[in-house]
């Protein structure tokens, strides 16, 4: 069975993620920022984003501590708190964007007639980052297998790490290019879509609740400006 969060329309997720990120950074110094965070946390939990939220916790802890720590060097306690809040706002926005399945986003873009070189380019960039991470893991293991330790021979270790990494990255880039060409990918042709990504009732409900949560805070923020 599909994970529940996959059911939110990918473009909606992307747009709301950007909105959450922008408003989060804008509202960070507002006295009601914690209520704003809580409102969206509840909304995301209602729509079953709990697994993705759990995945962001290490990021929040590491980067939160790091930014708060750096701010503490010559900042006030409230500066430290705001720095931590910014990381929280970023993580909240990331929950929506990292829950998007790349292929659904590409298909949704295709339906909106976004050029394929943009939508598929985006997908390949996402995929390449994942491959890059896997390659680093493999190379590190290969280094261990040849008995090379960074502490004993750092130059040799660097060689054993970077040479295969460069070669693998080039080889994978070439492999991906050949793979695309020989699988009839073309930027000129429209192609078809295996799956139609429609706006469903759930998406409309999510959008309505999202805006219902966000608009009062925007109103409050505008009131503060006056």
């Amino acid at each position: 069975m599909n994970k529940p969060e996959k059911n939110i329309h990918p473009i909606l997720s992307l747009v709301f993620s950007v909105m959450l990120f922008a408003t989060g950074l804008l509202f960070v110094k507002k006295p009601w920022f914690v209520i704003y965070l809580a409102a969206f946390l509840i909304l995301l939990l209602l729509f079953r984003f709990e697994r993705t939220m759990l995945r962001t916790i290490p990021f929040v802890l590491i980067f939160g501590a790091l930014t708060a720590g750096l701010t503490a060097v010559n900042g006030t306690p409230s500066d430290i708190l705001y720095a931590f809040y910014r990381v929280l706002a970023l993580a909240l926005a990331a929950v929506l964007s990292i829950s998007i399945k790349p292929i659904r986003l590409v298909r949704a873009f295709n339906q909106l007639k976004v050029p394929r070189w943009i939508s598929l380019g985006l997908l390949i960039v996402i995929r390449f980052m994942q491959i890059f991470y896997e390659e680093i893991q493999q190379i590190r293991q290969a280094i261990v297998l040849r008995g090379i330790r960074f502490s004993e021979t750092p130059l040799l270790w660097a060689r054993a790490f970077f040479i295969p990494l460069i070669v693998r990255v080039l080889s994978i880039s070439e492999g991906l290019a050949i793979s695309l060409e020989t699988r009839a990918f073309s930027t000129e042709l429209e192609g078809s879509s295996y799956e139609t990504i429609d706006f469903k009732k759930k998406d409309r409900l999510f959008a309505a609740l999202f805006l219902a949560c966000l608009l009062p805070f925007i109103y409050l923020s505008l009131g503060d400006l006056k």
Binding site: K101, P102, I103, L123, I124, R127, Q130, E134, Q138, I139, Q141, A142, V144, L145, R146, G147, R149, R159, A160, I163, P164, V167, R168, S171, I172, E174, G175, L176, A177, I178, S179, L180, E181, T182, R183, A184, F185, S186, L189, E190, G191, S192, S193, Y194, E195, T196
Partner: protein
């Protein structure tokens, strides 16, 4: 009637200078001409690094469109001259399955990968669904399986399925069976034969394990050394498949006899070197191990022991967890439950264990073949012996990564055994190697056994029937 594929005076060289006189070029092949008719099933065979992949890349357009090479001559596909056409043009007619499937996967899930080329061709969703279901049933892959968690063989099945889904009537497959288990290989060959016989597909298949393919093929294109100056290979076309099979059988029997004699002499040497009675201490012990990944349970209540001097071959269908077991034994991953213990500490493992990876690219990084071999070698004499055995004399100053895939695989193997490990893990060591290279590799293993102060323990993963009987005498069969 025009042939499906016609190659006329085709020449290919990796010397790229346009103005270089032809007589000064080193040609992979020169003035190659042949025709292939509709519905023919062709086996393209020959030693590792002889130029088979270059030829098929010239046919499908990867050369010169995506890989640089100097070419001359004509390629006619369905009567149309294609030598100057793009890969995309040729892809409409020619489907290609390449080596290294890992580098070609774009999507997270199996179904998305298979339907991607069909989407590009503008097929209707219902048609895609029907083809997808057929291909999933053929390959045994799960629709929503994560591509990152697939084994090497499963990735190869996936890329083959992607090509079959496009429905081109000319299929070129470059070692599609390299990592596949026997059942999957037989199923794919049956399917290709059915497509060629019943639906007039033209199939060109590159493979070293000829004995497996011969029952299916109509003609054999054998790459042999060329007599011409500055030309590496030429093609011998054999139509008498039965006679070729007989010749192959005789050659295999002769090689087996020769190997038996050599093995006897190495064993004699080995006996002389063995000091005292054979030590049978337990090196690895696995007790009630569970391992789960991506929702798949690979091991459940699994127990096993490896004792010193034992020679195990781990067998099983693609994706059953063979490489994962090696990774567990080498401490790269931790079991979900159960106990895994070893006589060696983590530090000792790095010194006394050797592990030959499936892909040699990860283990080669020195500036020359020579420095790569001597990097962790224990004895210069043994390295010299390995250089002679693997015929690396002329390549010692070359960069290891400039070698052909087969040569890199042999070099990677030589580098690991030059360290004279007590325990050797071999993960598909013979993939992509011709029979002569497999023999070299097995001979090197015998030499290592003869040199080892303690009885050598070997644990191998292989689907290769040529190598399995020589890699071990105990078998562990894993099932899904």
């Amino acid at each position: 009637m025009k042939p499906t594929l016609e190659v006329k005076n085709l020449s290919l060289s990796y010397n790229l200078e346009e103005n270089k006189p032809n007589e000064k070029r080193l040609w992979v092949f020169k003035d190659l001409s042949f025709q292939i008719e509709e519905g023919e099933f062709i086996l393209l065979t020959g030693p590792s690094g002889c130029g088979k992949s270059s030829l098929i890349n010239a046919i499908n357009g990867v050369i010169p469109n995506l890989k640089d090479a100097y070419t001359e001559g004509y390629i006619y596909i369905l009567g149309n001259e294609m030598a100057n056409s793009s890969v995309r043009e040729r892809t409409k007619i020619v489907g290609s399955v390449f080596q290294n499937p890992r580098e070609q996967i774009i999507f997270d899930e199996v179904a998305d990968e298979i339907v991607f080329p069909m989407e590009n061709l503008g097929k209707m969703p219902q048609e895609m669904q029907t083809t997808l279901d057929e291909l999933l049933s053929l390959t045994g892959l799960a629709k929503d399986a994560k591509t990152a968690t697939l084994s090497g063989g499963e990735k190869q099945k996936l890329m083959t399925a992607c090509t079959l889904g496009m429905g081109q009537k000319i299929l070129i497959l470059d070692e599609p069976l390299a990592n596949m288990d026997a059942r999957a290989s037989a199923e794919l060959l049956e399917l290709l034969k059915k497509l060629s016989e019943e639906e007039s597909y033209t199939v060109i298949l590159v493979e070293h394990r000829e004995e497996m393919i011969l029952p299916y093929v109509d003609r054999i294109f054998s790459c042999v050394d060329s007599d011409a100056e500055n030309v590496c290979m030429e093609i011998e076309i054999r139509e008498d498949v039965e006679a070729y099979r007989e010749e192959l059988r005789t050659a295999v029997e002769e090689a087996a006899q020769k190997k038996a004699l050599e093995a006897e002499s190495v064993q004699m040497q080995s006996l002389k070197n063995t000091k005292g009675p054979v030590d049978r201490e337990i090196l690895f012990s696995v007790e009630r191990l569970d391992y789960k990944i991506g929702g798949r349970c690979l091991f459940n209540d699994f127990s096993w022991e490896i004792r010193r001097g034992e020679e195990w071959v781990v067998l099983g269908d693609n994706g059953c967890g063979k490489t994962t077991l090696f990774r567990l034994l080498n401490d790269f991953i931790k079991p979900s439950a159960g106990k895994l213990s070893s006589l060696y500490s983590k530090k000792e493992k790095r010194k006394k264990l050797g592990y030959v990876l499936q892909n040699p690219d990860y283990q080669l990084f020195m500036p020359s073949v020579r420095s790569e071999l001597y990097l962790s070698a224990k004895s210069p004499d043994f390295v010299e012996e390995l250089i002679r055995l693997f015929k690396l004399e002329d390549m010692l100053d070359r960069h290891p990564l400039s070698l052909s895939e087969g040569q890199k695989r042999k070099l990677g193997f030589a580098c690991i055994i030059a360290n004279e490990p007590e325990v050797l893990f071999l993960d598909e060591p013979t993939v992509g190697l011709d029979t002569a290279s497999v023999d070299q590799l097995l001979h090197a293993l015998e030499l290592l056994k003869a040199r080892s102060k303690k009885p050598l323990t070997v644990v191998s993963i292989s689907h290769d029937k040529r190598a399995i009987p020589h890699l071990g005498n105990q078998f562990l069969r894993l099932s899904k």
